[in-house]
Symmetry: C2
Subunit: 201 residues, 2 copies
């Protein structure tokens, strides 16, 4: 894991980690978040010359930096910025790949409130100039992962904007999406689904 | 400018900004860094539906975060991480575009010490799977900007690794690179050079 957020306040208990440990250990690695699983998958793809796909660093607004003698510059005050794009992008088969990955504890649908409008707009912009965009959603309690093409996501997003339903039913993922089954290497072989998207371009 | 680094020590004077202000104001915008000029160019390309290319956020290792009540989480201790990739990537004409941009105050050659090995390796990995990689170099004192294909850069890098010269002569940029002339919109029309790269693929 790249970033480390120790608890700032003493009263805070590490709820997220506890939740992760209680996940069914049948598939995937016990206690790994979807982000970690995808980072591991991307490391496999990279080391095998298949694709170069990275998670972007978290955007930070830096306010104050100290430059102590004989040691590294230390950031003393900074804030988390809203990302203006999705989290992952890179190159596969010469194509530009762009996606976001989200976990939900819902079991029957995926709430669209997990997306920000600028992420959707970013994916629309990318698709317009020939990029391949999608989202990877993990239903944590079902331990099921789906890849859904951006076009399908846009349909639900635009409908929501016009007063339609605020979530995407699980059945949509099952019917229009690609279910991703855990395997040894890579852990989440999501580029197989991307192959199908490229075939149908 | 996205990031703000106030001077941590009182003895430090803002040398970089002063240097920028003394740049010849004939071309480009007075006081803009190459990064700012490229960000402005990318904003133009984005708003005109030409390409989606962003600078990646600076990677930060976060050590301590405070969560004050009723206000945004504040990062209290963090350090700059080495980037494992180049600074810019995105999509143009369906192709994956990846590059780094560097300024030099040298007037006769570009020192290869401006690149890190992992940046070169990242570009080699991307090119292997069909990405289009290059570097944009600004010779600040000459006020000349060149785009050089990654392949040409690799040749000099690999030669350096084998004991060859430690810089790329200006003449190489003039003969093998594409000179980029400032214009109104976008400020640095570097995708014209990318068009030529795509034509020759």
């Amino acid at each position: 894991m790249k970033f480390n957020y120790p608890t700032g306040s003493k009263a805070t208990t590490p709820k997220i980690s506890q939740a992760k440990v209680s996940m069914p250990p049948i598939y995937g690695k016990r206690g790994m978040s979807l982000e970690e699983e995808l980072n591991e998958s991307n490391a496999y793809y990279l080391s095998h010359g298949v694709a170069v796909i990275h998670k972007k660093p978290t955007p930070i607004q830096i306010v104050k930096v100290d430059y102590p003698k004989r040691s590294a510059a230390q950031i003393k005050e900074a804030y988390f910025n809203k990302a203006s794009t999705t989290d992952y992008n890179g190159v596969y088969r010469g194509k530009y790949i762009d996606f976001d990955a989200k976990e939900t504890t819902n079991s029957t649908s995926f709430p669209l409130s997990n997306f920000h409008e600028h992420q959707i707009n970013h994916m629309k912009d990318c698709e317009k100039v020939g990029g391949i965009c999608f989202t990877i959603i993990k239903f944590v309690k079902l331990n099921k992962i789906f890849l859904l093409k951006a076009k399908d996501l846009f349909q639900f997003w635009d409908s929501k904007e016009n007063g339609g339903r605020k979530s995407i039913p699980l059945s949509v993922f099952e019917e229009q999406g690609y279910q991703l089954e855990y395997q040894m290497n890579p852990l989440i072989p999501y580029l197989k689904a991307v192959d199908k998207i490229i075939e149908n371009l």
